[in-house]
């Protein structure tokens, strides 16, 4: 039995498409989370993106599809098999328009930075040699500077539209991320043939 975890949200459709290309199909019902597929020995699980990596690392699920942003943020102990190419976005630093913060060198010492990605944010500013106060939030990061909670933010940026609508400008891109196929390290050894088949030839 092989269990595959795919993420809710923006990567869901592409993930389903990826499985379909590999002849794995299932009936998606809204409230259900665990699905039998057309293949007797394969089950699919739909969970939050951050949880995909946890399920795979702990071995409750054998393989998963997840953004590399999550893998880098949580330093997940899994096998990153391949870059699936879809779901591209970047992690960037954004500052309020008209704040005189136009590049990283304008960021003052001990500025407050709001982010969902506190580990990557901390690593990035350490590398830059700028001491900052990091404020961990779970969502709607863009609102933090507007309300005075933080000076700047670090967040995932797709088109940049949400940033502009909240009066923010991207001042620096930290890293670019895409969806990856990952495997539990022990599952890779025990179910190698089944998992190997799913890696696209390139």
């Amino acid at each position: 039995m092989l269990r595959i975890a795919i993420p809710k949200g923006s990567l869901l459709d592409d993930s389903k498409e990826f499985l379909k290309k590999n002849n794995i199909e299932f009936e998606h019902a809204d409230r259900k989370l665990l699905f039998k597929t057309n293949k007797e020995n394969i089950e699919v699980l739909i969970v939050r993106p951050t949880d995909v990596a946890v399920y795979v690392e702990k071995g409750a699920v054998d393989i998963g599809i997840v953004g590399s942003d999550i893998l880098d943020e949580y330093d997940s102990d899994v096998l990153r098999l391949c870059n699936l190419g879809f779901g591209e976005c970047s992690l960037g630093v954004a500052a309020p328009q008209g704040s005189n913060i136009n590049s990283i060198s304008d960021v003052a010492d001990y500025s407050s930075v709001a982010s969902k990605f506190t580990n990557m944010t901390s690593k990035y500013f350490k590398k830059q040699g700028i001491p900052v106060d990091i404020i961990g939030l779970y969502g709607s990061i863009e609102i933090a500077p507007l309300t005075g909670l933080s000076d700047i933010i670090v967040d995932l940026v797709g088109t940049g539209k949400t940033l502009r609508e909240n009066g923010l400008d991207l001042i620096e891109t930290i890293s670019v991320h895409t969806a990856h196929l990952i495997s539990n390290k022990n599952s890779w050894q025990l179910h190698h043939d089944l998992i190997r088949e799913l890696i696209p030839a390139s």
């Binding site: 071995g59 590399s68 102990d77 899994v78 096998l79 990153r80 098999l81 391949c82 870059n83 990856h180 539990n184 390290k185 022990n186 599952s187 890779w188 050894q189 025990l190 190698h192 043939d193 190997r196 890696i199």
Partner: protein, 348 residues
């Protein structure tokens, strides 16, 4: 509960049912070890931090440290192999080789996850040194045989031994003229970042042909004996692994998986490396390998985790009425009745 009664995270009390299982596993395995001529040793719980730092720099962060009265640092042993090897090269240095030692020892590690088990009981063997007939290769076969013999005696059948070798990657990279990038490639593979590795090679102007060759090897070299064809015919690693696969008729077919991606810590392991997986739970039962570099003479051993074994062994504390009724129970609380009861209770 009063907070002063709470245990620190990651450690636990063992109850009668836990210890019943533990004793069962311990006594069965020790019988096997003793049958193969191994003698039990037990190094102290505390070691000097300096010698640990030299031997296993990779374990330094995970080690519990204690400050001695003179300010020196002591380490709560994070691993049992290290002190056993120390013992072999000091007080047992003059004894005939190969030296066959076994142990049952608690080890302590701090993990980044706070709820991780931090105290673990390991049981294992080390075979150290060689003579005319017991070569390092025979010692490896002996080690794996004892491992499989132990699992057989515990009636654990659903397991696989995943084999690899500390030098496999060097050999492959040399054949592809990628030796120059060995350190980075090893790091990416041991942290499981294959996709990042291929991007790294691309950005370092490695030809697509070479990258594809490496990709082909890394993605396909997990499985049965066939994957050994990725090594050259004259490869000594190939011969070593084939010798081990030849044990199949003795201990059962389909117990071995080879995985080139399983990169052991190169500071410690010098040759063969293996881990044991429970195929139902996918959990690791133990690991082992060869570490000549560290012991300065040939040495091979394995260590199994009692906790993981306990989850795989199908036995539980029998509900013996005997132990419950067979307690001191005087007819009354007058002295004569108590003395009568004690006389009856006395073990002889």
């Amino acid at each position: 509960m009063n907070s002063s009664e709470e245990l620190p995270l990651g450690i636990k009390d063992l109850l009668p049912s836990d210890l019943y299982k533990q004793d069962y596993i311990k006594s069965h395995m020790m019988k096997v070890f003793s049958h193969w001529g191994y003698q039990q040793v037990l190094p102290p719980l505390l070691e000097s931090f300096n010698s640990l730092k030299k031997g296993r720099p990779d374990l330094v962060d995970e080690t519990f440290k204690i400050i001695d009265h003179d300010g020196k640092i002591l380490a709560l042993r994070p691993d049992a192999t290290l002190p056993v090897i120390r013992l072999a090269s000091t007080r047992l240095a003059q004894q005939a080789r190969p030296l066959r030692l076994c142990y049952l020892a608690g080890v302590f590690r701090q993990k980044r996850q706070a709820n991780f088990r931090r105290e673990n009981l390991n049981i294992g063997i080390e075979i150290i040194g060689e003579n005319n007939t017991n070569t390092p290769e025979t010692n490896q076969l002996e080690c794996i045989s004892i491992l499989m013999n132990s699992l057989e005696v515990l009636n654990i059948q659903d397991y696989k031994i995943v084999l690899s070798h500390a030098q496999i990657l060097s050999e492959i990279l040399q054949a592809l003229s990628l030796t120059e990038h060995k350190q980075t490639i090893t790091e990416y593979i041991s942290t499981g970042q294959l996709s990042v590795l291929f991007e790294y090679l691309q950005s370092n102007n490695i030809s697509p042909e070479t990258i594809n060759k490496l990709k082909n090897i890394l993605l396909n070299s997990t499985g049965t004996s066939q994957v050994l064809s990725y090594l050259s015919k004259s490869s000594s690693i190939k011969l070593e692994l084939e010798q081990i696969l030849a044990l199949a008729p003795v201990f059962g077919e389909e117990k071995f998986i080879i995985d080139f991606l399983q990169v052991p810590n190169e500071n410690f392991y010098s040759g063969l490396y293996f881990k044991v997986l429970n195929t139902n739970t996918k959990k690791i039962l133990g690991a082992g390998g060869r570490y000549d570099k560290f012991s300065k003479e040939s040495a091979t051993g394995f260590s199994l985790y009692i906790d993981s074994l306990a989850q795989s062994v199908d036995i539980s504390l029998p509900e013996t009425q005997e132990t419950v009724t067979n307690t001191l129970s005087p007819k009354s609380n007058n002295t004569n009745d108590i003395l009568d009861a004690i006389k009856k209770q006395k073990y002889s």
